[in-house]
Point group: D2
Chain length 338, copies 4
């Protein structure tokens, strides 16, 4: 249930309603939207009488939420959620562009990429220090050394850092260096990890699992939100379907307008994983933007053919620069800017 207070409700009135709900065993979660105060109730308290609540001073209306996700739903928050990281506001008119290599491989590789993507117009730097690899025999990332290189690249370019965290006991460490904590597709339902980033003080980029439904994705976001972290971006990165002869995944473009309707959280498109073929990344990037994405995340590498991971889908630096020109033209046509 959500209780919406009148815009002129006093703190005393709000506290009263909270106390009433908590006395019945509910946890409360307060947010502000369009000048109104929303009190969300979670957990398994005793039934509350909407009529009685509606009579309490300051209460404007009460609302049952039938979706399983509550804090993530548009019913709980009608306005788009926006938040600002390193001067870039996510979720508004500006389209965030997150670019960089799949894996941090070396100081040279990272800094060359960081300067190039910055110059081409990227607003965030991505790079993996901990890599979830399907084989135990593949490169597993540079670890903390990689995080330090990312921090160095941020100092050199001013770009905030997006990097993945794979385990609850690494969240504190990664949060020291990162500006945005990324949860990978394979960990979308690693609930202990979701709880851990829910308690972190950094925004989260949550990737959709490769066979997660839209509802699964929103429920995973709900774990993070319910633990107190409201700064969550959702990322569509392609799903598994029957057809994978020519592409790595199937980009679920439908998810973009659908998520914009169901949730107030910003949506990021990941064309690199979504198609997995370098020469087709541009087409998918433009499609994602046209469909309404609030951000783009693109793998770029100075020498993709020798990348330690995901080289097949990484853009070269000139390709990224060229793509940014197309992105700018398209953004204007759909009323956005980069």
């Amino acid at each position: 249930m959500i209780i919406i207070m009148h815009s002129e409700a006093t703190p005393f009135e709000i506290d009263n309603v909270v106390a009433e709900a908590e006395a019945r065993g509910w946890q409360t979660h307060i947010s502000h939207d369009s000048g109104e105060t929303f009190i969300g109730l979670q957990g398994k308290g005793q039934p509350l009488d909407p009529f009685h609540l509606g009579q309490m001073p300051g209460v404007k209306e009460t609302m049952a939420i039938t979706q399983k996700y509550k804090l993530a739903s548009r019913a709980f928050r009608r306005e788009d959620t926006t938040f600002t990281i390193g001067g870039v506001t996510i979720g508004g008119e500006q389209v965030a562009v997150i670019a960089g290599p799949c894996s941090v491989e070396s100081r040279e590789q990272l800094l060359e990429t960081a300067h190039a993507v910055k110059e081409a117009g990227a607003t965030f730097l991505r790079g993996g220090a901990y890599k979830p690899r399907s084989s135990p025999y593949s490169f597993q990332g540079m670890g903390e050394q990689g995080l330090k290189l990312l921090a160095e690249a941020r100092e050199a370019t001013g770009l905030p850092i997006v990097t993945e965290v794979m385990s609850p006991n690494k969240v504190a460490l990664v949060a020291i260096y990162a500006d945005v904590l990324q949860i990978g597709a394979r960990n979308m339902q690693n609930f202990d990890l979701l709880n851990a980033v829910g308690q972190a003080h950094k925004p989260v980029l949550l990737k959709r699992g490769m066979s997660a439904t839209i509802e699964d994705l929103l429920m995973a976001a709900e774990y993070i939100l319910a633990h107190g972290n409201n700064r969550v971006m959702l990322c569509e990165r392609g799903i598994r379907t029957f057809d994978n002869k020519y592409t790595r995944n199937t980009f679920d473009i439908n998810a973009i307008p659908l998520l914009k309707e169901l949730t107030h959280l910003p949506i990021v498109a990941d064309p690199s994983h979504a198609i997995g073929v370098r020469r087709h990344v541009s087409a998918i990037t433009l499609a994602g933007l046209a469909a309404g994405a609030d951000g783009l995340i693109l793998e770029t590498h100075p020498d993709p053919d020798h990348a330690v991971s995901d080289g097949d889908q990484s853009l070269t630096l000139p390709q990224f620069r060229e793509l940014m020109n197309q992105v700018r033209a398209l953004a204007e046509a759909v009323g956005r800017r980069v």
Copy 2:
């Protein structure tokens, strides 16, 4: 195998090569591309020695094609195939816009729609007279009477007609009225029907089956091409995946750049079926265009809530008009026009 003749090869030299191949039991299929003559060999003839062939007068080179589809492949024809229907050229710079109701329901419904979509900028009128319905108890279409109404709407507006044919023994009848023969998703591998439209003298719009791979689609096109009809458009209309709670299908946007690479045939996007939810059709239309589609097919209806079929995904006439404005702006940003 494909034999490419020098651009200055004489008809006599070409005939000689054809005769040689046919003497070995091959069927030959001649096409012209960039000023060169291509001789495609089909069927199961005896092996031909590429070296010997290469020595024959006029032969420039021979090429094995490893894809199962041959006539549909870029190897067989490197330039985009274009063809002109009712003054509109498909496959070039202009984006074809095919609009109209799912089913032809009445003279009034059809004519009102036809005039409105024409005015808004559509270049083709669609409408079903024979309807493949999952239930035997649902409306199955007006039949020939519907075809006659379509012909009347063409006369009234000048828009060429796209309409579905479901059975080999109806091809001749439908071809009398239609400008483009549509093969529906459920019939994509109805091989007798593909053979029949392959012999018809009308262009074909071939919809991808809901679980057809890209290769399946190209092989289905190959049936039509192999029977002598070169004017085939491929249509991506959404596939079946694990996630159908909120949408009817999953639009496989990856298919668009992929098909543009693999085949020379024009590609049409069908946002209406691809997402199946009226308020999201616009986002998917723009995405399809941004990804490189050569045409768009959109269900429109004067009163979708009372449509006999597919009302949930049909645009109202004002929605279609509004969408066309967005389409025009986006087309310009990606170097196309409507």
Copy 3:
């Protein structure tokens, strides 16, 4: 709606109810089950008042059917449908075993197979004379000559014939030779073909489309039933999923108990297509039987490595004989017989 008449209802009372329904614009469909008469109403008549109907002499009860499929549903017929072909009863205690080559290739190949599978315990002979092939350049079947060979094999062995029909205008011809008309997976929603076999006087084996839902399959059966042919067997032959590296399809074993619950029609398992790998066909055959299949259809060939189609999944004749021994042992353990 279904109207169930008392067991002692007179023909006059039954006719009265039928007349009442038809007067309101309904089509009626009469069946008998457990000594009672069922009157099924189809089409789009005017609403009928269940209370008024319930008062009519001879009426026991009326029942709304909410499933989209009506004649195929257990609500319409609670007992298992059984029917006898060439002395074998399908849908009862006995498990039907349909064996033979994918394609009829020659007199020798067919007769050798027919005698061998008969001796090993098969109760039907299968073989394709018209072949739906994904490539126009592949062998398309021997046509009527193949049908004649099948008829000859029937005379030689006494085994009834199951063979595919691909086009409405071939139904009459195929029905001359065949004992069971097979509809292939790719034609499951070829509605004109379903209508045609619905009017034929031969039982039908309807294969599930590769991405057809259970409901789609039952609706396809409904087309056949609604055209008057009650002798329909449903066939699960594997579906398309994300995993096809090692197998051709994914056998949807869940479909077997589910279909046995939802419909009264017999269910046949097709392990050959379901897994597509010869050495694993036995395991899937036993699984299908254990899950409750009423019949098995198995591709067998004297020399699978030189078969013109589906050799990879065809059992050799000794493998089939060995499998039949396992089938007999398992059938006994689950209360069936072969």
Copy 4:
């Protein structure tokens, strides 16, 4: 690469080969199979010359492994892996039966279930103390208290315990109480967790992810094996497909014979999750056994309609008893025993 030593090779000869490989930077992994010693090489050492190795004393042959999974492959170990837990040998003639509730809810619920399943013939007790739930608002398990109840139930019945661990930092705790550590489907690619159970001294039951390919599953097992834990059971529990109207998942029965061919590890079928509908669990259990499963895991509950989780798919205790009778009959027919 795998180096196979002659059966009469001396420990000195074996050590020599190991030293040679390690000198080139390889990690070695020794196993014994059919009286021969196998030396598996992992990691990224310098190339080794097979010819040179083949000349070393005691070496019988060397073998390149092209699959990405090595230790899990049949090439590495041709015999079935078996291991004994609490007196029950997994992977041999006997079929392991793991039964119990989804969640441990109370002492009474657990002990009643444990005694009942023991009496009916189960050989392991399952029960979840840590529950991965898609909603943060659902019951998350009793935690360590649940583990203590499981240990009490083991003392009371003698049944070894199978229970899930969700996080690397809980592995040590769960391993104190559990006999088998279960990795849930959602954590199949939680690589830090796989590494942690790879270092534990307890057998592991690894569930296939809901969209994991067979190769993904084997690669996940490879993580555990590569960290030194050889006692791994693989579990097929249903995958996500386009059809989920009537069932929770699609049981991939093909996976059972396929996995038996590709790997030496035991395979367990989970009919409860595979179909998700109580009244159909029996059919799927029998199918899994007929297809070759080495074990069965079945949710059972004294009062499923009031279970806190997975009640819809849990068998009642009498249903479980009845199913065990069918399982015994079928096991005998396929040459196994319970």
